[in-house]
Amino acid sequence: MENHNERYVRHYALSDFGFEGQQKLLNAKVLVIGAGGLGCPVLQYLDASGIGTIGIVDHDVISLSNLQRQTLYSTDDVGKKKVEVAFQKLQQLNPEININIYPLELTSKNAWEIISDYEIIVDCTDNFSTRYLINDACVLLEKPLIFGAIYKYEGQVAVFNANPKIENRINYRHLFPNPPRPEEVQSCNEVGVLGVLPGIIGMMQANEVIKLITGLGEILDGKLLTFNMLNYEIFTVDISNENSVENLIPKNREAFELTDYNFLCGISSKNIEDLSPDDFIKKISDENTMTIDVREIGELPKSDFEHIQIPLSELKDKFSEIKNDNLILFCQSGKRSLKAAEILLEHFGNQKKISHLKGGITALQQRKNGKND
């Protein structure tokens, strides 16, 4: 056989894989974002398998507490840049492939350029802001994305944007439309993780990359697999794209580069305007504005200005009643109106301008009383 390479002889021998499958790997370009718990096994196995070009993005240095699970690194490497040590180790393992390293933090300013150069992207990051950033970039650039994430003794794996038909493509926002706020989740640093879990999940991601490139078997296209390492239970669900998430994703490169993903994950209320009682009174009479009381039916005091009532508890069933472009929400204290504004923002994205009366009816009444004095 021409170009026979002893290194890959076990791949050549594999039925349905063979020389042709190996050639596909050698021609592939894969970007691995994050060289930590998930990134290490992904990189080791992709490198060993002979992926022709591998890119590695990570800005971190190796710390002693990484070594319990990040198996590319040794004790002597503590304090060195992850991408540099990974490059060295992977070159030793397989000097026949190209490895590009990016010792930087992926941001909306640099992601487009880097991701454009690769065919498949592997998300091995450990935070939501980068995960949403990668997701949106991959949707816009039409790159298949191999997603992996872990929590304590469980892991998730999914393949996004891999369907040849654009209308069938699924992305992470079909699963969780908006990033959680910090209080809605715990981070790995706080909760700990058993070292072998990212090893297992990372190898599942590497397996999906190889299957996707070679066309072997069935990839987790639009499916979310959850693996429990304590009892080996696997639970796989089909993700649906019946609800469009287009509004939540920047429209183009320019809009993407202006998006602040750190902020989106900090708090989601950037696009919700707080109105003082004075601003509220001025703005409720603006054209194309709908003013909505989100208190429950029968709550007092009643309001003497023009408005409609949609209680917070029924809001999710009544999106179709909300037609205007400007929405002003109010409740008694301003808490429920902010919650309602977040729900509407999640549903409508940036299609509508959403504001709420800060301090609620209470603040409005105080203002009135103040003027009467």
Binding site: A149, Y151, D238
Partner: protein
């Protein structure tokens, strides 16, 4: 309808890994879960009915299985 609930990750720490509840549809079940486990209202989670992720309300059949799935971010 009797509905089997399976919870994952952080959600299972609040609700337990499995429980049975009675509900006619998903919206009713969501409200019932929030009432029984008020901590859930601050948590992000996706709902899968019989292993299909659903965004909108669905009517249940006897013994449907509903999975409560939180996002994981660790890497």
């Amino acid at each position: 309808m009797n509905i089997k609930i399976i919870a994952f990750g952080q959600i299972a720490e609040i609700t337990g890994k499995e429980l049975m509840l009675k509900a006619e549809d998903l919206d009713f079940l969501k409200r019932d879960l929030m009432k029984k486990f008020p901590e859930l209202s601050d948590k992000k989670l996706a709902f899968a009915v019989n292993k299909k992720l659903v965004q909108n309300n669905v009517t249940f059949n006897e013994n449907d299985v509903v999975a409560l799935m939180p996002p994981y971010s660790g890497g």
